[in-house]
Amino acid sequence: MNDPHSSTPTPPLDGATIQAFGPHRAYESELRTDTGVKPDKYVKTHCCFCGQQCGVQLKVKDNTVVGIEPWYEFPFNHGMMCPKGIKRYLQQSHPDRLLHAYEKHAGSASGFRQLPYEDAIRRVAEAIERIQREHGRDAMAVLSGASLTTEKTYLMGKFAHMCLRTANLDYNGRLCMVSAGAGNKKAFGIDRAANPWSDILGAEVVLIAGANVAECAPITTNYVWQARERGAKVIVVDPRITPIARTCDLFLPVKPGRDTALFNGILQQMIEHDWVDHDFIDRHTVGFDAVAAEAKTWPLQRTAEVTGIAPKAIEQAAEWWGLAKTSFLMHARGIEHHTSGVKNVLSTINIVLASGRLGRPNCGYATITGQANGQGGREHGQKCDQLPGGRDLGNPEHRAYIAGVWGMAAEELPAPGVDAYEIMRKAHTGEIKGLLSICFNPVVSLPDNNFVREALAKLDFFVAIDFFLSETARYAHVVLPGSLQEEDSGTVTQLEGRVIKINQAVECPGEARKDWQIIQDIAKALGREQGLAFKDPEEMFEELRVASKGGVADYSGITYKRVEKNFGVFWPCPSETPPGVPALGPQGTLRLFEPGSWNPVAKGAGPFYFPDGKAHFNVTPYVGPAEDVDQSYPLILTTGRVVSHFLSGNQTRRIGPLVDQYPEPLLEMHPRLAQELGVADGDWVCAESRRGNCTLRAQVVQTIRPDTVFIPYHWGGRKSANQLTISAQDSLSKIPEYKVCAVRVSKAGAPEYAAQLEPQQ
């Protein structure tokens, strides 16, 4: 047996860099001398973290965000907030904040030295120019993110495709929304939550699959609980008893990686008992017979054996789902982060379509979007194969339309590129020489991140735009100081498909610049500023309206004014509807697939976004995870989030009260497993996979399957769960399989980092 301690690489501790750039913890009292002062203003805007985008009011005094006040009128959350939203103001005027540009400098203890902003821009432009001249345009790659405003994501797509003309552009939604997006497009022809969240309230059955709602979308909890007060039955599918599962009516403790089997089995029960809506299936769908044939291979006993769920529980779920008159099915990364991610999504859509409960009040389906702009950020051209309006970079008509809007020849647009992980692989082989990244921390967030660190270290030139020096930016040759959400304005599209307005509260400090200005400055220094010279986000949005017009993600009827007047506008929202089709209400399209609704693909043939207007059943044969357990690595590792941290933790690990709430990653295991391993709660344990190892303290709890261990992934370096995870990806969506890999766990001594680093570092 090989010893992973000797054969797998170990991340550096980066002590001197951390000393200079953090993450350090900021607290209320340390930052503000007198917080009791009356604020200069309250700015109505939204949270900077998750996809729910709760309405909030920032308290501003002397160009500093000093606190937060509920925004009771905003209809999604009515003032509710989670701990992250409450403390997010502490990231502004933080001691770690990048106030200048930096360049890598071996002579400095921290590894970096300041340089004037203009010099940094010049260096970046020269490097891009040189790399593209010597190695071709595609040798320069761009990584972007879905926490940016829609305006910025539109600009990033235009910058890569029109200014750099590189095919290699992708975004961090590759780790988040792509399985749901691909599944939705295959089944419905459109990628958006089908319903507003208010439809949860009237559902008789709420089925939550692979979503730690209470920790990852906390405000949604109240919708679920309120439905339950009205008599809804709540079914939760999860390998862990998360807080939302604790009081559900039926808990299906699925073995990680077996979701398709479960939903195929549930569909089979529905068919056997004739709990399907034949009329809906006949009139509004295609492909049911093939799906039914596949379901037939999933009798109860086989489903139970594969999923690890008791047969009677599967039967009960099918009965409740099958007999309900109204229902809401929601899922999240738990079923999407798999090599079968798209199939898992499609298998849930199959039971929704078979029930016929879609496109009506209180009959809903949605993925719970992860990032702030996880929805808008996946629509307008920063995905590797995409153009604005949800258009395809591989489609000649779409290319021609966008090239026309942008004032360039269609053949000058690059071909579709590769996904974010493949960009890392190409950097590793040397095919990609240069990288510009913004809003992405792949050293923490990508799987098998020892490989990612190697890839970044091989780049000829790497420029990172960030407001804090993230673990990834530590690998950059030049770091440009970007903007926080509260320092810019624009729109985002939250998890219901509602376009909302982010309002600027304060100006950027020091030499930090708004992200879009940095991109413009680079384009200008390259002498390729054509098409990028916007004066403000609204001007970008106005162009985006034109660019999205006629596409599936049609924003042409949305204006800043309309958004602000109506607490948001739901897309699709075309500026005009064809003769005979009634105009949309002021809030746009609240609910998709309503009977008689018109869309630009079906053109009246039916409510779904295919030429015949019908939804597609998709056959979902079960395929196990890429790496299953074996004698050497006998346990399943699954990863996820905790409520007080967000994604790679670049922001939340700098906010003291959030760090204190959950300081360091713990490895959760069941007491029966702990007993087998001789581990007690709080002991150090080493988890090892074929790719790396990670020593953490154990949390022994009976709220997790005994064959599975869980580690939250928000930390970097030697505390990073993604040292262990596998880079196997879904063949269609290219999402990595974060939710299943094989590990072994053993009792260990205290790791070297314990004495040298603070919990958040």
Binding site: P70, G79, M81, W225, P243, R246, Q661, Q702, P706
Partner: protein, 223 residues
């Protein structure tokens, strides 16, 4: 100004998700910045994710005030039991030990007892307290009794408690299932009563796997 009397505070622990939004929001108050006055604890994390939030219950006859030798704890006419008055409090800790709900905290740095005053700065002008404003599960809720009864048809508010021989009526309500006959929460007795519904500490995984879940990690007998 006084708090509108038709607005009440309701705690429903069955809704609590332990997210600590209430704790983080409470610590934003200008009078005790950086410190929360809310107690939020896991009941038994090893066995369940069940958590329980406790704010000051604002008793009609507050034990904390009754045991205070310095008469530092005042109750307003509208029923809000306030944090100890700074000049009077002698930091003797009597209130901390005596409160049956375990609410007051001793701030040793400031030599002062501090506790929840139901965001008097907010409630006295008709705003919700911060914790109940932000609570994402509405385990902590603030509104009229009629609203609450309409929103939660299976629950009833109760504000009478018994701790041994001591009976206490509070301004703050806890939600109980309407199906149970109790109109008084007998806290001492409840420690010995079986839980309502499913045992929250039951190991739901115990009957799912039999013994074979660990087969793969045990050394084989023949190996």
């Amino acid at each position: 100004m006084s708090a509108p009397q038709d607005l009440e505070f309701f705690i429903d622990a069955s809704r609590c998700i332990g997210c600590q939004a209430c704790v983080q929001a409470c610590s934003e108050c200008d009078t005790h910045r950086g410190q929360s006055m809310i107690q939020l604890d896991f009941m038994d994390r090893a066995r369940s994710t069940q958590t329980f939030p406790v704010v000051c219950m604002h008793c009609d006859s507050p034990t904390c005030a009754e045991v205070c030798p310095a008469d530092a704890i005042k109750r307003t006419d509208d029923g809000i039991v306030q944090t100890a008055r700074n000049p009077r409090c002698i930091a003797c800790n009597n209130c901390v030990l005596a409160c049956p709900f375990g609410v007051p905290k001793m701030n040793t740095k400031m030599n002062l007892m501090m506790k929840c005053d139901m965001c008097y700065d907010r409630t006295s002008v008709g705003l919700k307290p911060m914790c109940a404003s932000v609570c994402p599960s509405q385990a902590l809720a603030f509104g009229t009794r009629a609203e609450m009864l309409a929103l939660r048809p299976h629950a009833k508010p109760v504000n009478d408690f018994k701790f041994g021989a001591q009976s206490i009526r509070t301004k703050v309500n806890v939600m109980l299932p309407r199906s149970v006959p109790q109109e008084v929460v007998d806290v001492t007795q409840a420690m010995y009563e079986p839980s309502i519904g499913q045992d929250p500490f039951a190991d739901v995984f115990s009957d799912l796997f039999g013994g074979d879940v660990f087969r793969s990690i045990r050394p084989r007998a023949d190996a």
